[in-house]
Symmetry: none
Subunit: 251 residues, 2 copies
DNA sequence: CGGATTTCAATCAAAATCCGTCAAAATCAT
DNA sequence: ATGATTTTGACGGATTTTGATTGAAATCCG
């Protein structure tokens, strides 16, 4: 089996089940233990999973990450979220992608008068209570762990929409463009880009230089990026050269 | 079993019940006493639970206050929910309408292997975490009070679906048929009926004889009704005469 | 109070898992 | 085709986790 293909399969298995044992991966994939170990090591390295003794757990963009209950430190994301919220005018309509950073954006939108479209269950939960926000939910197959609606139903719904702005997250960003872990998700995000006139990407600086398994789009497709100040000068240059408006948030 | 998985499971059990004895954890998890002790020690260390003699209690942030959880009596709705869940076979696909009674049904579905389609945010929240349940969300304009997705988007999504069974709630039931309060909701529920081969209605007996603003459908459109035993004989007769299969639950 | 019972903590050997190394196999570039 | 590079699978020692045992501590009950 091809390397990337196998890794994608591993990632999907882990995403779907939350935990998968090494032994199960070995038997499911028909690869040797060593190989699976190396794959897990790699996926752990790019931050998509967390290795645990006996197997691996999902951490990517998770709804309730076990690990993160220990220490809640998300200041960068929080600040990015606040900054993005300030860029949005009352009365606007925005399309909000799933993800932990976009969730922080949603948190900061509380109280504003807006129309929000989203396929993320956690975001919907957060904003559903808000009388000032009109919320439109994109339906679909609810992907476990991350709680985003994907698949044909989601894609069909998005095809009918037209919004001035989408705010997206990314699993990884390189000079080639944006990446995400899961092909279903990427397909859905492509539709979001199509449905929107402007594409904003929120990301903490750790995402830069980190690839993920599936290519989403080129940097030039992005209108604006909002990143924390941990971003190196060389990355800033790359982003600006691609014609992306860059907003750097001090943390 | 993988270490973290087991610890997560322990945490969930304790979170769910408030307190769980060590012995119960041992039997439920099939791990040795020593192992469970070590896990409790760890979870206590990170502040998620508090060890007590003979078991452990939950201390983490709770969704519902502790008192509420203990005192909550088993209502009619809960019993109806349990009964309905028992009528459903593993592997089935069901469409679940929003509503407090259907939410109780969803609660009782936890742990079963099913495919569930719903437009209700509370139900989606409940089932999203369940690995055994494949969840499909119907999108749409999210109606603030009840948290159900309605409107054109929801209707279009439903038009493309075909499920063997829908489980619906009703605001009111008279000999004329079913009623609900809100015309957007009713329009959506009509699509649900169209999308399903069998229509099951769950209702507590207080709903009978009570009308509501908008007419939904005639009694004869319903395949089966599940009601608590508070239902009078005359109502039973009316329901049966309309060709509805009636299941009465003792409370 | 004092003995019986339960629960706890510490210890230890066995089992499972991990890591590094290495050679075989596959893939790539020339 | 050939040599270089990457990927794979296997092996052995190191490490971690597990379950059983045992004596101490806490709790219960008469």
């Amino acid at each position: 089996m091809i390397l990337d293909q196998r890794r994608e399969e591993i990632l999907q298995l882990i995403e779907q089940h939350g935990f998968v044992s090494l032994q199960e991966l070995v038997t499911r994939l028909g690869a040797s233990e060593s190989t699976v170990r190396r794959d897990l090591e790699f996926l752990d390295g790019i931050g998509q999973i967390r290795r645990t003794r006996g197997g691996a757990a999902y951490t990517g963009e998770s709804l309730t990450p076990f690990e993160e209950r220990r220490v809640r430190e998300t200041t960068e994301k929080e600040k990015i979220g606040k900054a993005v919220a300030e860029l949005i005018q009352p009365g606007e309509t925005i399309l909000l992608d799933g993800g932990t950073t976009t969730l922080e954006v949603a948190r900061s939108l509380v109280g504003k008068r807006l129309q929000v479209v989203t396929n993320s269950l956690p975001i919907a939960n957060l904003l559903a209570q808000q009388a000032s926000i009109e919320l439109i939910l994109i339906g679909g197959y609810l992907y476990p762990r991350t709680g985003v609606a994907l698949g044909p139903l989601a894609e069909a719904s998005l095809a009918e929409l037209n919004v001035p702005r989408v705010i997206m997250s990314a699993g990884g960003i390189t000079e080639k463009g944006l990446f995400n872990s899961n092909s279903l998700l990427v397909e859905c995000e492509r539709r979001m880009i199509k449905a929107a006139e402007e594409v904003w990407v929120v990301a903490d600086s750790s995402k830069f230089g980190r690839s993920a398994l599936t290519f989403l789009c080129e940097l030039s497709s992005v209108t604006r990026m909002i990143v924390d100040s941990g971003l190196s000068d060389s990355w800033r240059e790359i982003v600006l050269k691609a014609g992306v408006e860059l907003t750097v948030i001090d943390v």
